[in-house]
């Protein structure tokens, strides 16, 4: 199986279709295409050995091609609540910065996450967070809260947990249950723009990318029966209705699955019966369930060892 590398292309709209065609020829995937005015952003998976071909074309088109290590990763940015204490700064700033290297982020505000003694999360919220690949919890400025009180919100979270907070001297080990702690992003009421804040956001991106890489490495030991990107392409081809969905990412890739932003009741059968050239249907290769997010469809690909074969 070809190794696919994530890249982000930024350039003019003019002739960007050539790049899409090239990607089809090479067997790569366009994950997301965002057109803003005269500029286009293409997030794509490029076969490793053909990267230089894509690079050449992007240079010809005067665009910029950069690695986007968080492509195909869906991240939950969890703030204690959706009150003005946490939004838009710093939670939105964090989510926005995580999107730079290609991640899809969802902001989740807990209903009762605020406070020290009284903070708690609901079963529904935990399940919703667990649908993602990585959870980033945005906490405040008191080290006492971060190390002693807030970690109870991690109970029941099965995906890797990243914590952001104000104190710069805390270490990841000091926060029980967290895989990574990033300081200098505490509660702020201004846009994150000072040097140390931007540095902190950079190290957040770096840390999250590392975690995503680790998950990929673990996955490589027992590969998925089908690549989520391939499922994405088949859905685009076989369920034309997806093109009418107005969400920014109608098909959101995850490391081990894909979120389809179509109503479950109407479309889950079509998704289950999705056919591949090899003669198998998607229901054999993946678990298809109702997402906790709205009424969407969640596809989680099974691993090769579960299915017995991979396509």
């Amino acid at each position: 199986m070809a190794v696919l590398l994530p890249y982000l292309y930024t350039g003019g709209v003019h002739k960007h279709g050539l790049l899409i065609e090239l990607m089809e020829d090479l067997g790569g995937y366009i994950i997301q295409k965002v057109v803003t005015g005269t500029e286009v952003n293409l997030i794509m998976l490029v076969p490793e050995k053909d990267v230089y071909v894509v690079k050449k074309l992007s240079d010809e088109l005067l665009g910029v091609l950069v690695e986007a290590p968080l492509t195909g990763v869906e991240i939950a940015v969890v703030s204690p609540t959706l009150a003005s204490h946490h939004l838009p700064h710093s939670a939105c700033d964090i989510a926005e910065y995580l999107r730079h290297p290609g991640a899809n982020t969802n902001m989740i505000g807990l209903a009762r996450g605020m406070g020290r003694r009284v903070s708690l999360s609901m079963d529904y919220e935990r399940k919703l967070i667990n649908e993602h690949d990585i959870a980033v919890f945005t906490f405040g400025s008191f080290s006492d809260c971060i190390t002693k009180k807030k970690p109870k919100l991690f109970e029941g979270i099965e995906i890797p947990i990243v914590v952001t907070g104000g104190p710069a001297d805390l270490k990841s080990e000091d926060v029980p249950g967290a895989d990574l702690y990033i300081g200098n992003i505490g509660r702020v009421s201004h846009r994150l723009r000072r040097t140390e804040e931007i540095n902190a956001l950079d190290s957040l991106n770096e840390g999250v990318s590392k975690i995503a890489d680790n998950i990929r490495k673990q996955q490589a030991k027992d590969p998925l029966a089908v690549l989520p990107a391939r499922v994405m392409k088949e859905i685009e081809n076989q369920i034309p209705k997806i093109r009418t969905v107005l969400s920014p990412a109608p098909l959101t890739l995850q490391l081990d699955g894909i979120r389809v932003k179509l109503p479950y009741d109407e479309f889950h059968e079509k998704i289950e019966k999705l056919e591949f050239d090899e003669g198998v249907t998607l229901s054999e290769l993946a678990d298809i369930s109702r997402s906790k997010m709205k009424n969407y469809i969640l596809i989680k690909c099974k691993s090769k060892s579960d299915v017995g074969f991979a396509i």
Partner: protein, 199 residues
């Protein structure tokens, strides 16, 4: 008293103190409160889930009536009162009050600076409108202060006490049941701030 001549934030950990100082500065700026505040002291005790704040305010503007911001003219035969606005910033408040009294149908705005009201008793109404209270900066300040206090406090601290008397504002917030001594401590902070001015 100069604006923000005393600005103290106290906490057991220095770095946390800096974070809160910045949060308070940002919130003061976004609510445009800095010119109204003379002295402010904030004490943070996260281990007790406690936030205390004492503020001494500077002189604020007096009440604003229609005649301060506009000329009122009567046209008895047409049954119309014409208000020619001089200070545009109070138009929203003025209009809300007028709508309430005369109804939107009876009020027209031929241009940005003019409000015309049709009424049966133009002379009496003109006299009333001239003396009508349009805005009370103290009231608006109070609203902003409470808003500021809630924004600056950690979100989980939902048990709150606040006192606004003369030019003094006191705010205590916690997650636990409010203790009397916390309010007294905050009162002592306020006294300290008042004395601070005598030097």
């Amino acid at each position: 008293m100069d604006s923000l001549e005393t600005f103290v934030v106290e906490s057991a950990i220095d770095s946390e103190q800096e974070f809160y100082r910045k949060i308070i500065e940002d919130n003061l700026a976004s609510l445009k409160l800095a010119p109204a505040i003379g002295r402010i002291k904030v004490v943070l005790r996260p281990e007790d889930s406690l936030f205390q704040m004492a503020i001494i305010l500077r002189e604020v503007g007096t009440k604003v009536t229609t005649i301060d911001i506009a000329d009122v003219e009567v046209k008895p035969i047409a049954g119309v009162v014409i208000i020619s606005i001089k200070k545009e910033q109070y138009i929203p408040e003025l209009l809300v009050k007028l709508w309430e009294r005369y109804g939107k149908a009876n009020i027209s705005q031929p241009d940005r600076w003019t409000v015309a009201i049709s009424t049966d008793k133009p002379i009496e109404e003109a006299a009333f409108i001239k003396e009508m209270l349009v805005a009370d900066p103290r009231h608006r300040l109070h609203e902003n202060l409470v808003d500021f206090a809630i924004r600056a406090t950690p979100e989980g601290f939902r048990v709150r006490y606040h006192l606004y008397k003369g030019n003094r504002f006191l705010f205590v917030a916690s997650e636990e049941a409010m203790k009397h001594e916390w309010i007294e401590e905050a009162g002592a902070m306020l006294d300290e701030l008042i004395e601070g001015g005598k030097k």
